[in-house]
């Protein structure tokens, strides 16, 4: 302690000065596009959004600590301690610096940050602040802020679509065919003039044909939060037949659209498009239960996994999303059974796996897999690759255990030397059972090491 840090205002922002900073002060530049942390000594710089205060704090403290020779293990703690010390000073100077920027720019940047936290350095283009209507929309409507964040992508989609459907492009294709060639749309250059022109009609950017419609308007007017900004670039690929004002149904539809881009044969559009929040949650819960995994409707990645699973189901359905999920679960189960039968067929008759040379664990939560068919069944139920170890268990190359602990499950592989090779829950994900099982079996497996070593010693006694 005793080291003093001083936060000083500069012409372009502020800087942190201290005798501890042997390589010079840390400068923070504040511009309309965002903040920049500059380390003059190393020449490195980090760009941040105007409102990314916590990242700013962390960046300043990280740069300060990096100039001091703390051991690697202490750095994280030192950064945390320094940020607690400097928090109030930097907060005040950051607020004062922002207050000097034009109000319009601040409002736009604040709206962008609220729509999607992050560094939106290039989103605000020249001339935007002069369009009062555009600024008002960005500040008031989340959809307008997202449109600005994805402006170039949305413009490129509209222009590509317009060109591809133009008679000139069709005529060009016909001429190209005469020369055994195909004409393709390559790069689309976008400058600020084009951005201004398109953004003045930003709702049109979300429409497939560049003309907004009733359901889309109502969706955009009440666009729910919590949607990844990039996902909204899928909206022009969809024709909404009703307004979507809740997050989960819209998220599901947008994720379906991404899958449809990758696999145009992807079906179930009607079921997906008509699903409501409650039924989606119920369906996700059913899938999670059947697979022994956790699926949260708040996590985009989980909803995406849910959509991908539904799209595996090849037959058309006319019910709701819960019915589709049930059918999908049954279909996957039947598929698994078929795969299981094939595996068992390939492996031949059920054989005993080699038992460890020591007593099996006594815990009721731990079950040793004693037969090859049990190993294969474990792989099918847990949806991981343990079935491929069936032969190895017969030869004693590994010992496999199933763990049931606190309503979670896991499979643990122990080597003949008693080391835990892997401990995985369903779909190779970590669970409470995988953590607990690893700990228990690690303790159990210690004698295996000495047992195997002593057997090696015995082997070495053989004189050839």
């Amino acid at each position: 302690m005793g080291v003093t840090y001083e936060v000083k205002r500069t012409e372009q922002g502020f800087q942190i000065v201290s005798e501890k900073l042997s390589k010079g002060p840390i400068d923070v530049l504040c511009q309309e596009q965002g903040l920049t942390i500059e380390n003059t000594e190393s020449g490195s710089s980090e760009n941040l959004g105007l409102f990314e205060f916590h990242k700013l704090m962390y960046g300043i403290c990280r740069e300060s600590i990096s100039q001091q020779n703390y051991p690697e293990q202490q750095r994280h703690w030192q950064i945390k301690r320094l940020s607690q010390r400097l928090y109030k000073d930097i907060l005040n100077v950051w607020r004062a610096t922002l207050a000097e920027l034009p109000e319009t720019i601040l409002n736009i940047q604040r709206a962008l940050y609220a729509a999607s936290p992050g560094n939106h350095r290039n989103a605000v283009f020249d001339g935007l602040a002069n369009n009062a209507y555009a600024v008002r929309d960005i500040v008031q409507l989340r959809a307008a802020a997202h449109a600005l964040l994805n402006l170039d992508t949305l413009i490129r989609f509209q222009q590509k679509n317009a060109v591809e459907h133009s008679p000139e492009y069709q005529a060009l294709q016909n001429i190209a065919k005469e020369y055994h060639r195909n004409v393709l749309i390559g790069h689309i250059e976008i400058d600020d003039t084009i951005r201004i022109a398109y953004f003045s009609h930003w709702p049109d950017l979300y429409a497939p044909d560049g003309r907004t419609y009733r359901s889309l308007n109502r969706t955009l007017a009440a666009l729910p939060g919590g949607l990844p900004s990039r996902l909204l670039c899928q909206l022009p690929k969809l024709q909404l037949h009703k307004p979507y004002t809740e997050r989960l149904p819209l998220l599901l539809l947008l994720l379906w659209s991404i899958q449809h881009d990758r696999h145009p044969e992807a079906g179930h559009y009607d079921v997906i498009a008509n699903a409501d929040t409650a039924s989606i949650k119920r369906a996700m819960q059913r899938l999670a239960t059947s697979r022994h995994i956790k699926l949260s409707s708040r996590r985009t990645v989980d909803v995406n996994e849910f959509v991908q699973t539904l799209l595996d189901y090849p037959e058309a359905t006319h019910g709701g999303i819960v019915g589709l999920t049930d059918a999908c679960i049954d279909w996957h189960r039947a598929q698994n059974e078929r795969t299981l039968a094939e595996l068992l067929d390939r492996l031949g008759e059920d054989q005993a796996t080699q038992r460890p040379p020591i007593e099996l664990p006594s815990s009721l939560h731990i079950h040793f897999l004693e037969r090859t068919h049990a190993v294969i069944q474990e792989g099918q139920e847990m949806q991981h690759c343990i079935s491929s170890y069936a032969k190895a268990t017969v030869q004693g190359h590994c010992y496999l255990f199933h763990i049931d602990y606190q309503d979670t499950q896991a499979t643990v592989e122990v080597s003949p030397q008693g080391h835990i090779v892997q401990s995985k829950g369903p779909h190779n994900k970590p669970t409470a059972a995988s953590v607990w099982g690893r700990k228990q079996l690690k303790a159990w497996g210690k004698p295996l090491n000495t047992t195997n070593n002593s057997s090696t010693d015995n082997d070495s006694d053989i004189p050839f």
Binding site: Q159, A162, I185, H187
Partner: protein
């Protein structure tokens, strides 16, 4: 013949032991198949027997390849297809430029792109699209096999030699002048890179025959000179030309002198000034 496993199939010499073939006329490749001089001599005798017995059309085709192309790297699949196509076969024998085109089927792709982009209909439609949208194009046909590219070459060989994709009188005139001259396979590949004016003579083509098509600066240096100037420069540097190889040597000597004109280049060489790439640093 039996112990060498040599046979003749479709006008090609075939060594069944290794399942490899070459043109009947290709002595170098044939010799490379055998290690001992005795076997090589025996193989050459067998080759002569096959050549004596082979149909006249095979002989004509292979003579044409030997005169105007590169026997050692000639694509055999192209040869077999060429033998079957009567029209192209005749054209091939009579027009050395076609030999050069048949050796490299992939020249069709840039030729077609050039023709398409030069098409006035294409140009006018392109202007009606938004200026910021850039188009690209890709071929929709696989041209790599001879059954695809040979018929096209047969029909459009004159277009393919033209810079604009359309034949024109000066080009026709130059080709007629070059017809009996052998060894110009590389020179023909330059033709589509510039517009042939009445100024371009066989002497220019002699010099182009030893420089790669990508060497546009040397090509420009040569094409900027008249035939008289070329001959004058040649005579100052090397005396009287006797054969094509002399001209090829001349064009190799004047390489790498940057933007200089040919008479200045010759002056520099005569004064012992090294070319740019030879200047030691």
């Amino acid at each position: 013949m039996n112990h060498l496993n040599l046979s003749c199939r479709n006008g090609l010499l075939h060594l069944s032991r290794y399942n490899i073939s070459c043109l009947l006329i290709n002595q170098e490749t044939l010799k490379s198949w055998f290690d001992s001089p005795a076997d090589q001599a025996a193989a050459l005798r067998i080759q002569q027997d096959f050549l004596a017995d082979c149909p006249a059309r095979h002989r004509q085709l292979q003579d044409s390849i030997q005169r105007h192309g590169d026997v050692s790297c000639w694509p055999l699949a192209t040869y077999q297809m060429l033998y079957r196509m009567k029209d192209l076969h005749d054209l091939f024998i009579n027009q050395p430029a076609v030999v050069s085109l048949c050796e490299q089927g992939n020249s069709i792709i840039p030729h077609l792109e050039q023709r398409m982009t030069a098409d006035p209909r294409y140009q006018s439609l392109l202007k009606r699209l938004p200026a910021n949208v850039k188009l690209t194009s890709a071929t929709n046909t696989h041209w790599s096999t001879p059954d695809r590219h040979l018929p096209y070459i047969g029909e459009h060989w004159l277009d393919m030699l033209s810079d604009s994709g359309q034949p024109y009188p000066a080009l026709n005139h130059l080709l007629e002048q070059l017809q009996p001259i052998a060894g110009l396979r590389t020179a023909y590949r330059h033709l589509s890179a510039f517009h042939v004016s009445s100024n371009i003579s066989p002497l220019h083509m002699y010099m182009l025959s030893s420089i790669p098509r990508g060497d546009s600066s040397l090509r420009k240096l040569i094409l900027n000179e008249s035939a008289d100037s070329l001959l004058d420069s040649y005579q100052r540097l090397q005396g009287e030309p006797t054969c094509l190889t002399d001209w090829q040597t001349f064009s190799r000597r004047i390489r790498n002198f940057g933007e200089l004109k040919l008479p200045d280049v010759v002056d520099r060489i005569l004064n012992g000034v090294p070319a740019d790439e030879e200047i030691p640093f």
